[in-house]
Symmetry: none
Subunit: 215 residues, 2 copies
DNA sequence: AACCCTTGTTTCCAATTGGAAATTTTTATT
DNA sequence: AATAAAAATTTCCAATTGGAAACAAGGGTT
């Protein structure tokens, strides 16, 4: 029975409910159909495996594999994990858009002013740049730091990597663990280890804009 | 009810069956148990989001998020996808092991406008930022691209790594191998693999200023 | 202390997943 | 073609997921 996959149907049903909310908060974060099934099948066939063999390798039922490959179910995380283990694929590889294999063509991604992928949070208004390329060594954001008072600065953030901060306009106050807060004006920059607690507030009357690059 | 997660129990049962086969065929491409829940919580908190806010961003129920973070369910693929989209995470990042947070000593380096270390070349006028810190993952420059005519644009440059280019003022023409030259205006950015030949000239009447970050 | 409000957890249940087996389709062989 | 064997899909159903709502656990306020 060639019905529409459940989770796609469900997707639509919810669409209604959450449309407004989602649009408000994050105008542009919908889940594309992404053909997991197609990817999986490609990988299996590239190893010349039958469903039965893949089944043995992954510990998943033949039927389950078939359904996944035909996008009839949305496998659970644990199933995806088994799949990856059994077929010897990197998880990331599974999700990375196969897009044009980069091969001979160089990787390049242009982002025009204001055309990044918006990602608002209560505190900041991030705009992800260069979202076409995946597996980048750096992740660049252009971020609007909303004008706000001192005493409500956000919690420390801590994570892997290093960060470069360049103030494009306005002025901000950079809080980092182990140091006194420091005010940065347009043109100033900071480089720090993200393992230190850090957070940023705007000190200008209006919003400040910064470029943030994480490695 | 603090029972053992279903999908973990089941994991063990099947273990027996597939052990031998798996060892034969693919002895070593193990994606460890990875605590998805913990990761997700980290990421959510790093953005100072509440479950409610994350719920709005992802379109998932608060309860669902809670269960995921507490490893009480194995979310379906479509749910994981929504999660990643909503929270603005690269899928791969979700699965990559978070090397234990470096006991932070606190590396931080502030560079005031114009106080970087000058490094002039015939073509550009680089100003190295954050020169106090060594062993950085990224090397940031603020570079003035001298106004110049088209036909004397510099040779390709090729080297290791990836580069982010952000135009601070003026406009420039970015030449990269495999692509047509493209004009970038203030606020535009480009990300590319440095293995591609690349070079930059200014197209504005006066000098252009760009931020260049190499990883 | 009683109350309200926010954040996170748990319960309940309808909807979906995943396995075993049945069924259909494809491929190979006469 | 006809048949057998292999491979893939579908069906059926028990087990699990995911949403709504109830619940619990703080934080402030009055």
């Amino acid at each position: 029975m060639p019905e529409e996959p459940h989770f796609l149907i469900e997707e639509k049903q919810r669409e209604e409910k959450i449309r407004v909310t989602r649009a408000e908060v994050n105008a542009e974060s919908y889940v594309e159909p992404l053909e997991l099934g197609k990817r999986v099948r490609e990988i299996r066939l590239s190893q010349s495996l039958t469903l039965e063999e893949a089944s043995k390798l992954t510990g998943l039922a033949r039927s389950t594999l078939s359904k996944i490959e035909n996008d009839q179910i949305s496998p659970t995380f644990s199933v995806v994990t088994k799949l990856a283990k059994g077929l010897g694929i990197d998880m990331p590889q599974l999700f990375t858009r196969p897009k044009e294999a980069v091969a001979a063509t160089g990787r390049r991604d242009i982002t025009r002013l204001g055309e990044g992928k918006p990602h608002p949070t209560p505190t900041y208004e991030h705009e992800l740049l260069s979202t076409q390329l995946t597996n980048k060594k750096m992740i660049p954001y252009r971020t609007v730091v909303r004008a706000r008072s001192f005493d409500e600065y956000p919690e420390w953030v801590r994570h892997e990597g290093e960060e470069l901060l360049y103030v494009l306009s306005g002025s901000v106050l950079l809080y980092t663990e182990f140091y006194e807060p420091i005010e940065l004006m347009a043109g100033d920059s900071a480089y720090y280890d993200c393992a230190m607690g850090h957070s940023l507030v705007s000190t200008s009357a209006d919003d400040a804009v910064v470029l943030w690059v994480t490695a």
